[in-house]
């Protein structure tokens, strides 16, 4: 496994169905041609995301297993992470795990309208927000009016 594949295989510790690559927080994997030293660049979803330390440790562990025990992990904050960076594959995986994927982030200056969030269980657009905050910093709690199931929704950011 090359360093890029190794880092990309690390799963998010709080949403374990999706990799950090699919979530869009893996920004770069660079290998110094002279020394062979690998530097991985990540960015947090939210500034206070408590999973970052675990993600850093998991990346180092994955790279050690791939033959790069001296890999460095650096964190950048610019440009800020957006839910638009979650890949299509990532969105499909979230929905399959019962987490409604984020709606697109409206462009600046555009009047935003709230798009319906589809229930990840039954697909109904008849849903309502129960709480603007959820089990992790990046999620809100919703409920389906058709099948009555509560579900997590990854907030557009």
């Amino acid at each position: 496994m090359n360093p890029r594949e190794a880092a990309a295989s690390v799963v998010d510790p709080e949403i374990r169905v999706i990799t950090i690559d699919e979530l869009g927080i893996l920004r770069a994997v660079e290998e110094d041609p002279a020394s062979g030293r690998v530097t991985v660049t990540i960015t947090p979803t939210y500034t206070g995301c408590p999973a970052m330390d675990v993600i850093r440790a998991d990346i180092r562990r994955a790279l050690t297993a791939a033959g790069h025990p001296d890999a460095q992990v650096q964190t950048v904050y610019s440009p800020p992470w957006s839910t638009d960076w979650i890949s299509e594959r990532g969105r499909t995986k979230l929905a399959a795990a019962g987490i409604a994927p984020p709606t697109p982030v409206p462009a600046a200056g555009v009047v935003s309208l709230t798009l319906a969030v589809r229930c990840p269980q039954c697909g109904s657009p008849e849903t309502e927000q129960v709480s603007r905050f959820g089990s992790t910093a990046c999620k809100a709690l919703w409920r389906c009016r058709s099948c009555s199931e509560p579900f997590d929704h990854l907030k557009a950011l």
Binding site: Y46, T47, P80, L141
Partner: protein, 241 residues
Amino acid sequence: MNGPFDFTLALADDALVAAQRLAEWTTRAPEMEEDIALANIALDQLGAARLLLSYAGELEGAGRDEDALAYLRDDREFRNALVVELPNDDFAVTMAKLFFLAAYQLPLYTALAGCADERLAAIGAKARKESAYHLDHGALWVKRLGDGTEESHRRMQAAVDKVWPYTHELFAADPAAPVDPATLRPAFDEVVVPVLAEATLTQPDSAWAPAGGRAGVHTEHLAYLLAEMQVLHRAHPGAKW
């Protein structure tokens, strides 16, 4: 204030003290959803505080990291505005503080995102999105309580009356700063005035403007907050998880 270190430290302390106060609601909020909401907002504030404190430490160049700045300063060395250290008090007071603070932090971080200092610009661009969400949340509650029952209206108005005088300190002019806080006041009023009106609340016209936090002169409440926040670190110097 003078220089980027003091400016960055003041912003960091606003966020850190606000986080600590909000965290006091954990397991005590009026409903479970609100408990989670306040803990999430506290976490956002803590995240911004950590970035700002780390950068302040680098600007100072004296070898102090985020932990040294958070845990090993006394109240007179903190530069937060008084509004964030006020006790949580009634839930309505917490909501007034949350709303006013977000209405200040959102234009502040937005302006920082376009400032010449690359590090502050990156932090501003990141924190801005979170502040916008806090502002929505605070505004929802101010409207719900203000335009609610007779009792909720009475308590929300009392909360606004209590917290409002402390908002003026946030906009004290500092022309040398990367963003002069005085320039943020119109954006604050633009958000706050219509929400108070919709909430059927009266905007206080008191000229009283307590201040001193930016110079390290605090209310009696800050030292107690710091004592609780710092005790573990001070009791076990150098301890690591």
